[in-house]
Amino acid sequence: MTFDQFAGARLQAVLRFATALTGDPDLAKDLVQEVLIRVNGQWQKVGQLDRPEAYIRKMVVNEYLSWRRRSWRLIPSGMSSHVTGRPSPDPADGYIERQALLAELAKLSRRQRTALVLRYYEGYSDAEIAEVMGCTRSTVRGHVFKALAALRVELDQPLPTPAPSKETH
């Protein structure tokens, strides 16, 4: 697969993932852009992988988790960081609830948010999340457990109680 083939087929999906991850389309664009600039220079290797997209998503996650310790949580509570329209009252309860949930998502730590996005947006298993995030499955469950509790999300099936983790966020 050439870089152009990858970009044509999968780049938009990677951008959607990055947007869910960061909560900010502009930051998502920056993240993916920086990753792709690096990838583009070594595409001969990346393109030969079985799943180049998975490799790139992992790079995006790593970039998000480590990018110069930038504060990604500047977003004031109650609003998205991306001004997309006038926040007028909306009679649809679902809309209001989603906005509230977005605001609370923005308050999570980067690792908690990453674990949630990989699990609930990408549908990854704990093992896959652990592989992407470079931590143990127990740690992944810890992140998810704490994040869901903070968001007051009811589980369809209870998570196993995570073992205490020494990792910091």
Partner: protein, 360 residues
């Protein structure tokens, strides 16, 4: 732990739906691809520059008071202080971070700074003030969805001392509409000679906000500010309201902020009204930036009494092209109404210089 023990408020399906909705706000892959390809071929940042003048790629300096000549002429000394505060808040520009140096396509070159009035080539048949005003108002309203690009050059004793480059889209926002703005400010470094030193890029800011109804101007609105404060010209930081960005860094703030009306002034509609009310008189016809234009001079009943002020209006588009205040110490504004194409809208993005850390 927070949330535990309370009645569950949300389900995993809610979370999935919210994340999916968020993902739909993803930017276009084409934009990212363009930047990636440009990054491969681009070595050096190319900033906008004035004809004959090399602009530095990096540093800028402290925000000096951006008081233009016309402000000084228009208000009394007591009002100047207030105007300075207002302007200090007003300066800023628009949306996000681009992946590197020089990602902007070329805009039309600004004309020579504060160059004298163009030669009037023929008197022609002058339209009446009323018909000109009507045509200008119609044109201004029709250009409301355009991107307006404005250059402002301040000259003292024949030497360029400040420049502003600003972009606003839409040019005439409706109440409730998001307006994207960017402002790029250059000035002479602190301590450098005002008579010989060139201006240097000082700050580049973007300001995105929601336009309130005119009756509630003064209120706060959700807004996003991105500020790049350039180092190397003696400044310690760049201020915007309560946000301060140290020199050599960039910052991004999303919050409810006091609304700042960023629409370039004087507005075309204001000019049309002034013309209709006899505050301008037509003095000739000429060509400017390749367009046929009418040259007008402000009458003594105008806003800036006592100072020569000239205005050029395109008779092709009936939009204002240029205004010059003052004979010696002068301010020259140029307006460009541009279609909101992808390339033009790219100018609303503030490039973050390589190596500049985020400070807020």
């Amino acid at each position: 732990m927070e949330g535990l023990g309370r009645a569950p408020a949300r389900t995993e399906a809610d979370l999935r739906a919210t994340l999916a909705e968020l993902a739909r706000r993803a930017p276009s892959a084409d934009d990212v691809l363009s930047a990636v390809r440009e990054a491969g071929s681009r070595r050096q940042r190319r900033s906008a520059r004035l004809p004959g003048q090399q602009w530095p790629a990096g540093p800028g300096r402290v925000r000096t008071r951006r008081l233009g000549w016309r402000q000084l002429a228009a208000v009394g000394a007591a009002a100047v202080t207030a105007a300075a505060v207002t302007l200090a808040l007003t300066l800023g520009g628009s949306p996000s971070r681009t992946g590197g140096p020089g990602g902007f396509p070329a805009l039309p070159n600004p004309p020579a700074s504060a160059g004298g009035p163009p030669v009037v080539v023929s008197p022609g048949d002058h339209p009446s003030a009323g018909s000109l005003a009507k045509a200008m108002l119609t044109a201004y309203n029709a250009a409301g969805a355009d991107l307006v690009y404005v250059t402002r050059d301040y000259v003292r004793k024949g030497h360029l001392v400040q420049t502003d480059r600003s972009w606003s889209w839409p040019a005439v926002p409706s109440p409730g509409q998001v307006q994207y703005n960017r402002d790029e400010f250059s000035a002479i470094p602190r301590g450098a000679s005002e008579s010989t030193a060139p201006v240097k890029l000082t700050e580049d800011a973007s300001y995105t906000t929601i336009t309130p109804h005119p009756s509630v101007y003064g209120q706060s609105e959700p807004a996003r500010l991105i500020m790049v404060c350039y180092a190397g010209t003696g400044q310690t930081g760049c201020g915007w309201g309560r946000y301060e960005t140290p020199a050599g860094t960039w910052s991004k703030h999303t919050a409810v902020m006091p609304y700042i009306d960023y629409t370039p002034t004087p507005r075309g509609a204001d000019l049309a009204r002034q013309i209709a009310h006899g505050q301008w008189r037509i003095v000739g016809h000429t060509r400017l930036r390749g367009q046929p234009a009418i040259k007008l001079a402000q009458t003594r009943s105008g806003t800036f009494q006592g100072h020569p002020v000239f205005l050029w209006v395109s008779t092709a588009s009936y939009l204002p092209l240029r205004m010059i205040w003052g004979p010696a110490d002068s301010e020259t504004d140029n307006w460009y109404y541009l279609p909101p194409s992808k390339a033009n809208l790219a100018h609303l993005r503030v490039p973050i210089p390589p190596g500049y850390p985020r400070s807020g």
